[in-house]
Structure formats: structure tokens, C-alpha cells
């Protein structure tokens, strides 16, 4: 028995070490990147005597766990660009094969740090796109920063995310901006009183709520909370808010919760307009809410009915690739983040992580579905305007107004 145990333990050790050893061919990451750059620069004039270096871009999304839907849309968004690139990126006239590497974060910070290490150290990606949640970006950001790997977060709205360091960017709004857009819209509409119901276990909801309260000039009549997206009963909170009879209701919550909340708000007797954050930009919300979706407004950067060529191109390509669905905000932001990385690779002075970082920081007037985007070099947040979108009774979104507080 003891021998068996010893053997078991030994095999366990060997197993783990063998797993560790599988990457034995790797050399120091920065050295490799530098070497690659040199190779690329030398190879460029002679026009591909050897096959060009493969460029790898890493993606960190929750493909399992309760946030799996966001991950699904995100990968689809990235797929659109992957399809458009056709497997190659042209840099200085050289066609580099490009590889998109998707990794599952399970929506957990711990797993996200593992994913970042894997992408940076083992896959040696040139940049990372994602993750979609602030908590994951906050935990894994320092890893990208320390390794000097540029990272464009997709849906991480917490202000602190890009404060981690100069390698961390994002494609989305920050909480305060979105809150102020929502507040400005509400004032524009002449809402004097508001009620809020938010998820006190979720950073996104808390952030939006705080930013809204700070910017809203009217009176907040009532705030109700709930914890987590486990139990989907919001009747009590909404019934209590209905008594206040506010001019509007703010629901700054996650997309998996919004559909039911909108529905329950209507049946609890809240007839006032409902305003949400950009998480509401998901076809599933309209789907679940059914008739109740009529008139729900939300903050967004992107309008699917936009006639701008970049937007139309994206939506058409998405529907062509995934005929059964429409892009949501996760898909769109991932597409934009990936596009930022790809354009930075094309414009980079040197084809390495630092070069890409500098190029992302220098993005100016990049045509994206949400419009022309310029990177704010000091905060590493995109400078883009907010739009207010509204659902009609069919669950189709319409552009309402463009708000730039």
C-alpha cells in the first residue's frame, strides 16, 4: 500500500512537472519579442524569404460560469474581425499569420490571473483583449502591466482598471461617464424624481448608481438593493419603489437580471420610464422582458441602426457569421477592442509589445462601429460620445439622442 501511495505521489509530481515542462521551448518573452522584431524588420525589404512571424492575440472571457453569455457574445464579436482578417495581418507590406487565442476565465479573478499568465508567458501573445468584468481586470491587470503586455479591457468600466498602469487600456465607458450620460439624459427629458434598484453585490451596478446619484440634479426618492443574481425575485423592492411614484427608474444592473426586472417593475405598477446602463444592450434582455421592454432607454456607445459604414459593416458581418443572433454590447466592445489592437499592430513602430502599446496610446480617429475613436493618452480610456438608445415594443432599438455631458 505504501509503495502504491509513493508511486501515486511520484506520478502526481511527474504529471505536474511534465505539464510544466510542455512549454520548455519558450525563451524569455521580451527577448523573443525583440528577436521577432529584428527578424521582421530585416525580412521586410526582401519580401518574405521566410514565412513571417505569427502574431498571437490573447482573449480572456468567461466562457463558463454565470457570466458565460457575455463570453459567448465576446468571442462572436472577435470572430467577426478574425473572419475579416482572413488569418493574416499586413504589417509594413509583410503578411503575418494571425492567431486568436481564446481562454476561459470562468468569470473568476483567480482564473483570470491564470489565463493572463498563460497567454503572456506560454502563448507569448502580443496583446490581450478582455476581460469583460472589472473585478477580473483589476486582479489580472498587474500581471499584464508587470510583463509589459498591452491589454485592452472590453467591458471593465471601473475607473481603477486603467489606473493599474500604462499598459492597460479599455474599449468601454467608465462608470462616472456613463452615470453622467444617464443623468444628463434624464435632465434633458425633464425627469425631476428618480428611483433606483441596484445589485449591491455587483461592482458595475454600484459604480453606475454612485455616478448617477452624483450627477443627477433631481431628487432620488428611493433606493432599493438586492444581493447577487441568484434569486430573481425583485417584487418587494419594486413594489416599495412604486409607492414613491417617481418620474423615472434607474436599473444599472447586469444583463442576465434586467429582463426580469423590467418585467416585474411593470407588473408592480411602475409605469414611469426606465433607464439602464449599457448592459441592457443585449437582445436577450428584450427577449426575456417581452412586452415590458417597450420604451426602456439605455446608455450606449453604439447604435445598431447607425448608418456609419463601420457600424453597418460590423452588424452585417456579424449577422452573416451568426445568422441567429444580433450583436450585443459585449460583442461590439470586443470587436472594437480587437480592432484597436489590430490597428495598433499595423501602425506599431516596432512589432513587439511595447510598440503595440505605444500605438494603442496613439490611436487617433480610428473608425469603429461606435464612431470615430481617439485614445486619451493620460487615462487610457477611449474618448467617445454616449448615445441614448431606446427599445420599441418589438424589442428593436432606436437612436434617441447623442449626449456629451
Amino acid at each position: 500500500m505504501k509503495k502504491l501511495l509513493a508511486a501515486l505521489l511520484a506520478s502526481a509530481m511527474v504529471l505536474s512537472l511534465a505539464a510544466c515542462g510542455s512549454s520548455s521551448s519558450t525563451t524569455s518573452t521580451t527577448a523573443a519579442a525583440a528577436a521577432a522584431t529584428e527578424a521582421a524588420q530585416e525580412a521586410a525589404p526582401e519580401a518574405s524569404a521566410e514565412p513571417a512571424e505569427t502574431i498571437k492575440i490573447g482573449f480572456a472571457f468567461p466562457m463558463s460560469g454565470t457570466a458565460a453569455m457575455a463570453g459567448k457574445y465576446s468571442t462572436h464579436g472577435a470572430d467577426v474581425l478574425k473572419e475579416a482578417l482572413g488569418g493574416v495581418i499586413e504589417v509594413n507590406g509583410v503578411e503575418h499569420p494571425v492567431e486568436f487565442i481564446y481562454a476561459d476565465t470562468e468569470g473568476s479573478e483567480e482564473k483570470t490571473t491564470n489565463v493572463y499568465q498563460k497567454l503572456i508567458e506560454e502563448e507569448e501573445v502580443i496583446a490581450i483583449v478582455g476581460p469583460d468584468a472589472s473585478k477580473c481586470a483589476l486582479a489580472a491587470g498587474p500581471i499584464a502591466q508587470n510583463a509589459g503586455c498591452p491589454n485592452v479591457a472590453t467591458f471593465a468600466t471601473n475607473t481603477a482598471v486603467t489606473e493599474t498602469g500604462n499598459y492597460i487600456f479599455r474599449a468601454c465607458f467608465i462608470d462616472p461617464f456613463q452615470g453622467s450620460v444617464a443623468a444628463a439624459y434624464c435632465e434633458e427629458q425633464g425627469y425631476k424624481t428618480a428611483c433606483i434598484m441596484f445589485n449591491n453585490a455587483d461592482a458595475y451596478a454600484v459604480g453606475l448608481k454612485d455616478a448617477f446619484i452624483e450627477n443627477f440634479d433631481g431628487e432620488v426618492l428611493g433606493i432599493e438593493e438586492y444581493s447577487g443574481s441568484d434569486v430573481k425575485d425583485y417584487n418587494v423592492q419594486l413594489t416599495k419603489l412604486a409607492v414613491q411614484n417617481p418620474d423615472m427608474l434607474l436599473l444599472p444592473n447586469l444583463n442576465v437580471e434586467l429582463g426580469l426586472q423590467i418585467q416585474q417593475a411593470r407588473s408592480a405598477g411602475l409605469t414611469c420610464p426606465i433607464v439602464c446602463g449599457d448592459s441592457a444592450d443585449t437582445p436577450d434582455v428584450a427577449n426575456v422582458a417581452g412586452d415590458a421592454i417597450d420604451g426602456v432607454a439605455y446608455v450606449s456607445a453604439f447604435s445598431a441602426e447607425s448608418t456609419a459604414p463601420a457600424a453597418k459593416e460590423f452588424v452585417d458581418a456579424y449577422v452573416a457569421l451568426y445568422p441567429d443572433e444580433l450583436p450585443n454590447s459585449n460583442a461590439e466592445l470586443t470587436y472594437e477592442a480587437t480592432k484597436m489592437v489590430v490597428s495598433a499592430i499595423q501602425n506599431a513602430k516596432t512589432l513587439d509589445r511595447d510598440g503595440v502599446r505605444d500605438a494603442i496610446e496613439a490611436i487617433d480617429g480610428l473608425e469603429l462601429p461606435s464612431g470615430s475613436m481617439t485614445m486619451d493618452a493620460t487615462t487610457r480610456n477611449p474618448i467617445k460620445g454616449g448615445v441614448i438608445m431606446q427599445y420599441d415594443s418589438e424589442g428593436v432599438t432606436h437612436f434617441v439622442s447623442s449626449v456629451n455631458p
Binding site: K72, D230, D233, V236, K240
Partner: protein, 303 residues
């Protein structure tokens, strides 16, 4: 006053979901003696299968409602399907561990639960997206003393009460119920008495799974959204409810479910910030006062 009544309705609504699920949980526990953490996922399978079955019957759906007969048929198929899954799970994953320490079965159940959640999530045609649940029951709102109560809520509350009574009578009066009680007391002795223990346990799991399907349909009718992770936390809460009532006791499960639901709703109503924590504090207090649950009697080990 009216609002208190209204909250009571909400509490009963949430409580009836817990109660229905806890019934199956407690029955499996009582007879097999295992904590089946995958029970909540049976609820998800019930709701999800109903979604797809209803879709198959969509052509009969006239003006947004299904005929009563079809609704019955849909529910029946879903119950059979979920019951079948439960029986399969038991036969493959739990039966070989029947005489092992119960913690082993618990961990296996965690694995089963993870499988039941992730398998449909990985399937391309199901995936992680939440889906709107079809309207099965006619939705009408009644006003009682200023509180509004919908027909769905009424159906849920009545259904859980009826199921509890039926199950209680079933176990107490029928032949197979008697065999279940025998198996719950002593599997080996039951076997010697000529009872087919495997069959009895299979039936238990079938009923448990079918009940989970019913609670899934009720839950999804009240909160019309189905997705693959919907059952995991509900499963935990129904375990809490079953323990609160005195685990293994059918009436206790019912009572525990309603008490938990009402406690959570009222705690939220008083202060939604602390509501979540207060619900659990109430739970601990009840258990400290009644260490074997509300209906359970403390079994003193014979020395």
C-alpha cells in the same frame, strides 16, 4: 396593511418554489440518506426541457396561450424527462456509492451538478443565453384586500400544498410508499424482506426529479427566464429549507420552504440592504432554538 399582505403573497410565491424543490430533496434524503446537491439542476432541466417541448408544440399555440390539455401534456413530458434523467444519474453515479460514507456521495453529486450545468451550456443549441419562458398558465390578476395576486401565484401556492399532501399520503398509504419507508429505515432488512431496493430508490429519484420539474415550471412561470445556471443556488436554498423544516420530513420541507421564502421577503421589505444577511441570521436563530429543524425531533443516540 395592504402592502404587508402583498409582501406575504410574494413570500408565499418564493416559498412555494423552495417548498416544491425541498420536497424532492427531503424525500431523496429521507430514503437514500444522501445530500443530492444536483437536485437544483433537475429544476433547471425541468424548466429547460419545458421550454423546448413547448417550442415543439408552438404550432398549436393560438393567440399566445396553449390549450389546457396541451399544457398538461407539456408538463407531463417534462416531468417524465426530468424524472428519467434523475433515475439515470442515480443508477450511474450514486448507486455504486450507496454503502459508502455519505460525504462521498455528496462530492459525486457536486460533480454531477457541475456536469448537468456545463453540458447544456457547452451544447451549441442551448448555450448560456437566458431565454424567455413560454406562458403556460393563463395570467389573471385578482385583488384581495388591496393586495394583488396573480393566477400563476395562486397555482404555485396551491400546487405546492397539494403536492405536499399527495406525497405525504403516498408515502404513508400506498404499497410502494410503505416499501420506501422500509428502505429508509434499513436497506438490508428491506432487501431481506423481498423488497427490490434498487427499484424503490429508482422510483424515489423519479418522483424527486418529476417534482423538481414541476417546481422548475412554476419558478420559470413566476420568473419567466430559463438558463443553465438557474438551479444551482435554488438547490442550495431548498436544501436549507429542507434542513430548516427537519430533513427527511415531508411536511417539514414544505414548512421550511415557506418560512424561508417569507423570511427572505420580509427581511428585504424591512431593509433591502441587509435583507440577504438577515434571512440567514433568522435561519441560524431558528436552528439554535430547534436544533433538529422545525418538524424534526432530536434523536437521542441510545447509549
Amino acid at each position: 396593511m395592504a402592502s404587508i399582505l402583498q409582501f406575504l403573497v410574494y413570500g408565499l410565491q418564493l416559498g412555494s418554489v423552495y417548498a416544491l424543490l425541498a420536497l424532492g430533496y427531503t424525500m431523496v434524503y429521507g430514503i437514500v440518506g444522501m445530500i443530492n446537491t444536483a437536485h437544483g439542476d433537475f429544476l433547471m432541466i425541468g424548466a429547460l426541457s419545458t421550454f423546448f417541448i413547448a417550442k415543439a408544440f408552438e404550432s398549436i399555440n393560438a393567440d399566445g396561450t396553449y390549450p389546457m390539455l396541451i399544457v398538461g401534456l407539456i408538463i407531463l413530458i417534462s416531468m417524465m424527462f426530468t424524472g428519467g434523467i434523475a433515475v439515470t444519474v442515480e443508477a450511474i453515479a450514486y448507486r455504486p456509492l450507496r454503502y459508502k460514507p455519505r460525504m462521498i456521495a455528496l462530492i459525486t453529486a457536486v460533480g454531477v451538478s457541475m456536469f448537468l450545468e456545463n453540458f447544456p451550456r457547452a451544447l451549441p443549441f442551448i448555450g448560456p443565453n437566458p431565454r424567455p419562458f413560454p406562458t403556460l398558465f393563463i395570467n389573471r390578476t385578482f385583488n384581495v384586500l388591496g393586495a394583488s395576486i396573480t393566477s400563476t401565484q395562486l397555482i404555485m401556492i396551491v400546487l405546492s400544498a397539494v403536492t405536499m399532501i399527495a406525497l405525504d399520503r403516498f408515502v404513508a398509504k400506498t404499497k410502494i410508499g410503505g416499501q420506501m419507508r422500509a428502505v429508509s429505515m434499513d436497506k438490508d432488512a428491506a432487501n431481506l424482506m423481498g423488497i427490490n431496493v434498487n427499484k424503490v430508490i429508482s422510483i424515489t429519484f423519479f418522483i424527486g426529479g418529476a417534482l423538481a420539474a414541476v417546481s422548475g415550471i412554476c419558478y420559470a412561470s413566476a420568473y419567466p427566464q430559463v438558463e443553465v445556471y438557474m438551479g444551482s443556488w435554488l438547490g442550495n436554498m431548498s436544501f436549507v429549507a429542507a434542513v430548516l423544516g427537519g430533513i427527511g420530513d415531508i411536511r417539514g420541507a414544505m414548512l421550511g420552504g415557506f418560512i424561508l421564502g417569507i423570511a427572505q421577503i420580509f427581511a428585504t421589505a424591512i431593509n433591502s440592504t441587509f435583507g440577504y444577511a438577515v434571512g440567514f441570521i433568522i435561519l441560524i436563530i431558528i436552528l439554535l432554538v430547534k436544533p433538529a429543524g422545525i418538524m424534526g425531533t432530536l434523536t437521542i443516540e441510545k447509549v
